[in-house]
């Protein structure tokens, strides 16, 4: 049996977002988004301690920096920069979100409440130049991540496999859960390039335990229409995903 994560769930829940009724979340259409992902291998032991017991670590463990600029949403334009640890829920690869920064206070509130993003309001940007794409996030004026993709070359959208997210949350009934966020992507164009990743303050993005960046893997950027739909799946953080996953059913309308 593959190893399971050793995250102290009770301790982690203290800082986890408090969500509302998940199945009553809105459905956000997010057209014409610009997105960037950078994958980077990290050391084994510290990452195991950040992986929930519901999940297996990936082999090898790696971080996935995921940044998105969403020009059109129900709360207006916003940019979201997330740091994720790639894990496996059962056999499916997922980005377990360690921390995130969003440049819109309204979006930050909605992302925490409806989808459980461990996100804080700060400065976040995703800038596209001819020869590079750069994501940057800062909290209180201090940089926490600078991720750059250089030498972009066009690739096919079908060559990409964006991961769904997992978020550790506190549910309205006070219990903890991991929820899955599974956006759809209609990809219009994609480029792959050489990544660089600088994390001046990794703890600010939930990277506790001294994770060290090991091997640069790849960076890619793409333009897509995407969305955020109500959560459909929740996992018990302490049970293997193949035992502790449940489908969330929207509440039936009250009889007239």
């Amino acid at each position: 049996m593959p190893r399971f994560g050793t995250l102290d769930v009770a301790a982690a829940l203290a800082d986890a977002p408090q969500v509302g009724e998940l199945t009553e979340a809105p459905h956000w259409e997010l057209p014409e988004a610009t997105l960037m992902q950078i994958n980077w291998e990290v050391a084994d032991e510290p990452s195991l301690a950040l992986t929930p017991p519901a999940c297996h670590p990936s082999i090898p463990p790696y971080l996935s920096l995921f940044a998105g600029r969403y020009p059109d949403s129900p709360v207006g334009a916003f940019t979201l920069v997330q740091l994720r640890l790639v894990v496996r829920a059962g056999i499916r690869p997922r980005g377990y979100c360690l921390g995130a920064v969003c440049d819109s206070a309204e979006a930050t509130g909605a992302l925490r409440t409806h989808w459980g993003y461990p996100v804080v309001h700060g400065e976040a940007s995703l800038s596209v130049r001819h020869d590079r794409v750069q994501a940057r996030a800062a909290i209180g004026g201090r940089d926490v991540v600078i991720a750059t993709l250089t030498q972009p070359e066009t690739i096919g959208g079908a060559d990409l496999m964006p991961f769904d997210n997992l978020h550790l949350v506190r549910l309205p009934d006070g219990t903890g859960a991991i929820v899955q966020i599974d956006p759809e992507y209609a990809i219009h164009s994609a480029d792959r390039g050489t990544p660089t990743l600088v994390l001046p303050d990794p703890q600010a993005l939930g990277m506790r335990g001294g994770i060290s960046l090991d091997l640069a893997m790849v960076g890619f950027t793409f333009k897509a229409d995407t969305d955020l739909a109500p959560v459909r799946f929740a996992l018990d953080p302490s049970l293997p995903a193949f035992q502790g996953t449940r489908r969330l059913e929207p509440k039936a309308a009250a009889p007239a």
Binding site: M1, I91, R92, I155, D159
Partner: protein
């Protein structure tokens, strides 16, 4: 129809000082029984760094041990990784020739290029170019075997003229194969006059279309080696038991366990977007079928688990679609006790194999 056994050599945690040795010794004992029962071949993968899933990183050594303990069974690389960061082509040619000599000309030479980020990244190989290097290797290695001296200026390796020694025992050289884990690679095999060595677990319906196209394409091939090997092999699982429910139950758990481990692999496409791996390969089929490590669902069609009658019925379907050979995985993570694996092999050999025409 002929039959083989193949090995990933999976080693379940917790690992002890004896874990890997036990897996290897059990496999060798199974190969001796397979030889006695008349199986055609034993195949071993080359994998690196794939925790629990496969600890078969030096297949030429395992296959040499197999050859030294058996009389008839052929020994197959399933496969050697033809990527320069993993293996220099001269070393591949040399090691294969030694194995062919020691086995008395029983080598089947399977080739491939790796499909996981875990391995490709581990050797810092470029996923974009593995198919190119594989192509260069499979065209040059036969020349190393057949020419007294060989020199080459290529894209992925170059060398001054040298005598690559020893030469294989089989003349002009051993049969060559290509591992097929993604749809379309059968056609690469056909175009080069090589056998298609299925290493994923597909349905016979999907296989039927591929068989037809392979047979059509290989008629007009330009062989990479000195001759055409027009054989198609499929991978399968085997657990044969007198009692149908026992066979399906135990075999089903083995399949689920294997697929769960396979599902943990970081496939190249998943971690590194590239045209070099246009589909997730083994992963896609595995994820469709696996849900948990130990809960057997309905056995997929064409799988050789159950009692002898059930297995004969399923294998006849493979025979009908034109597959020449089926290679069986016998265990996963040592889930099935060794004695039951051996009983399954013996029962298959006595009750199932006589129903298939070609002498194995």
């Amino acid at each position: 129809m002929r039959f083989g056994v193949f090995y990933e050599l999976s080693v379940p945690r917790p690992w002890t000082a004896e874990s890997e040795r036990t897996v290897y010794m059990n496999a060798l004992e199974q190969v001796r029984v397979a030889d006695e029962m008349g199986f055609h071949s034993v195949w071993a993968v080359e994998h690196h760094f794939l925790e629990e899933y496969s600890h078969s990183s030096a297949p030429e050594l395992f296959l040499t041990a197999c050859a030294m303990q058996t009389k008839q069974i052929r020994v197959g690389h399933g496969i050697v990784i033809c990527v320069p960061e993993f293996n220099h082509p001269v070393k591949i040619a040399e090691r294969a020739a030694v194995l062919d000599i020691l086995s008395g000309g029983r080598l089947e030479f399977g080739t491939g290029r790796s499909a996981t980020w875990t391995e490709l990244g581990g050797f810092r190989a470029n996923p974009d170019t593995t198919k190119n290097s594989w192509d260069e290797f499979v065209h040059t290695i036969p020349q190393m075997w057949m020419q007294e001296r060989f020199g080459y200026e290529g894209q992925y390796f170059s060398m001054p003229t040298r005598a690559v020694l020893p030469k294989p025992y089989q003349k002009p050289h051993p049969p060559m194969w290509v591992a097929v884990s993604t749809p379309g690679t059968e056609m690469d095999a056909a175009d080069r006059g090589m056998g298609a060595l299925g290493v994923n677990f597909t349905t016979f319906k999907a296989q039927e279309e591929r068989v037809q196209e392979y047979r059509r394409r290989i008629q007009n091939c330009t062989p990479a080696g000195a001759f055409v090997n027009d054989k198609l092999a499929a991978a399968n699982f085997l657990f044969c038991h007198e009692d149908s429910a026992e066979g399906v139950g135990i075999g089903g758990r083995m399949i689920q366990n294997f697929q769960y481990l396979a599902g943990q692999l970081d496939m190249a496409k998943e971690a590194y977007p590239t045209k070099g791996y246009p589909s997730p390969g083994l992963l896609a089929a595995t994820r469709r079928q696996a849900s948990s490590p130990g809960e057997p669902g309905q056995p997929p069609e064409g799988i050789a688990i159950g009692n002898p009658e059930q297995i004969i019925r399923e294998l006849k379907k493979w025979e009908a679609v034109g597959v020449d050979q089926i290679n069986f995985l016998l265990n996963a993570s040592e889930l099935i006790p060794q004695e039951q694996v051996l009983e399954s092999l013996r029962l298959f050999g006595t009750e199932v194999m006589p129903h298939f025409t070609e002498k194995n």
